[in-house]
Symmetry: none
Subunit: 320 residues, 2 copies
């Protein structure tokens, strides 16, 4: 860390364009010009920028800058609040009020990650795509979505490898081997299995050809009930994690077209649990019980990214 | 907002314990002592504190303080980066480096929500708790949930203040004044209205007595369609934000029992959008169209925190 310490010392001095020219030249963002906002998250308080900086070379260099606000530390903020920090009232209603509080600089750093020089690939990696909501009717599914799924060549060989025990056989947590009503339960790759707080398993059904929610009818109720009941039992036995603390759901659209069900810890804010993508297995069973053709006739709502081929198909027919 | 404006002016002056004693006494956090950290999220950069403040009364008052870092605004940070802000190197590896950047105070406010005096219920509301899933049948609603709602005394005076223009009248974005099929559209407290990336508005219906999803029947279809269509129109006109980029939904259970609908930007990972809490308005309308008594007879699934009184009620009848 010798090099870092030295740099740190030099750049500490470089405050807001002050200091001698030599020191200023070492600023990692010298001459920064914004090219594009790649992505931002208001919830996470993070922003990804593509910019040009002058750097040490002759040519301006492409740079990705990631700015992220830092989490609060209880001790520090408690001390701050007790010292009457400057506040500006924004609104007041009954017992609720909202202020803007200006903290001292030391409590308010921004974590700044710089990738320089950044390649085209780095820039694309962080580029956020706009999302568009699709309301897919049963007719839309038959006319647009189904032909799209059938024409795509996205391989699901890796799924068949699991089902045939050609891969990941040692990761299987539970199996009902029935070819029509059975399934394999396996940890999702996103879960490291070290703590149950972010528990995440997947049930992959044995029967082939059930592409998604749209194919489900009353014929599949025994399969769905097996996944719901046996999946919960297996997780309780293996992890001591009770079914009433599990979120059990399907995605529509799914990321691959072989029916599978997600099991995640209810307290875990897993990706893909939002209302426009997830469908609770409990509700799916209830819907099919009340109308066996529910998923063939129903309008289903989901989001597509601007660069997705399916969105282009919907645009061709004037549906988005 | 006359009162607020005056207060705002006074508190602007009250910087860090400076100023004359009279002005200092008006500080909303005067004498703050931390009682407990109720909850915190490193991802969201938010912390919920329970404290005592001296306030205007004789007795110290229980107060909930919510501190949240604000999202970045692209223009402001781009300007900041071009001006060689003070940075401190933390680590460097190949093309990747990480710095701490100290921004000027104006770019670095903390949104501070104060609830004072806070009741036991407010404090509990923000305390992190285990979650349990409830599958509430139509009978459960009538036998357990409805009596619970009717017995609770959680005030919704602040909602009536908005509907009667006694508070926040200057924040109203759109109104359909029809007492039976009308509503008011207003920005949610969580949104600072500075960027559309985390757009968040609430439609509060004019008719009173519609507690939640469970009360909705075909009688309410005109109201729901008004909210869906006019809400999208108003947001398009005001913010240039198209309806196919909006997530429009109700919560069940809601946080207060006067019917309201959430409008959030589809790209914004807002709290409360997960499948076990959110119900797309588009789906709600479709469900009632297919069965006018859908929300009276349907099993609805949702999560309750370990400390919630409603969970205790379900446990009393052996349902959880």
């Amino acid at each position: 860390m010798a090099q870092s310490s030295e740099k740190r010392k030099r750049q500490d001095v470089d405050g807001g364009g002050l200091g001698d020219p030599e020191v200023s030249d070492s600023h990692p963002l010298a001459g920064f010009r914004l090219q594009a906002v790649l992505k931002e998250s208001a919830r996470d308080k993070v922003i990804f920028l593509h910019g040009k900086v002058d750097g040490d070379s002759q040519e301006p260099q492409d740079t990705v800058v990631i700015l992220e606000r830092v989490p609060f530390q209880a001790d520090a903020v408690s001390g701050l609040l007790s010292q009457r920090p400057p506040v500006t009232l924004q609104l007041k209603n009954d017992i609720y009020s909202v202020y803007h509080l200006t903290p001292p600089p030391a409590l308010n750093e921004i974590k700044t990650t710089v990738i320089c020089p950044a390649t085209e690939k780095h820039i694309k990696k962080y580029l956020r795509q706009d999302l568009f909501l699709i309301h897919e009717t049963g007719e839309d599914y038959k006319a647009v979505t189904l032909p799209f799924i059938e024409a795509q060549s996205f391989s699901i060989q890796w799924v068949y490898n699991i089902l045939e025990k050609k891969a990941e056989a040692d990761r299987i947590e539970y199996e009902n081997p029935d070819p029509e009503h059975g399934f394999i339960l396996i940890p999702d790759f996103k879960w490291n299995q070290k703590q149950v707080e972010d528990l995440y398993l997947i049930a992959i059904c044995h029967p082939r050809g059930i592409k998604s929610l749209r194919d489900l009818t009353s014929d599949h109720l025994p399969l769905l009930r097996n996944i719901l009941i046996e999946g919960q039992d297996a997780i309780l036995k293996r992890y001591g994690f009770h079914g009433n603390k599990l979120r059990i759901y399907l995605h529509y659209q799914p990321s691959y077209y072989h029916l599978h069900v997600h099991f995640t810890a209810l307290g875990h804010d897993a990706p893909g649990i939002s209302v426009e993508r997830a469908h609770l297995l409990h509700d799916v069973i209830q819907n099919i019980e009340s109308d066996p053709r529910y998923y063939q006739i129903r309008t289903l709502t989901y989001a597509l990214r601007a660069d997705e081929a399916l969105l282009a198909k919907f645009r061709e027919v004037g549906k988005c």
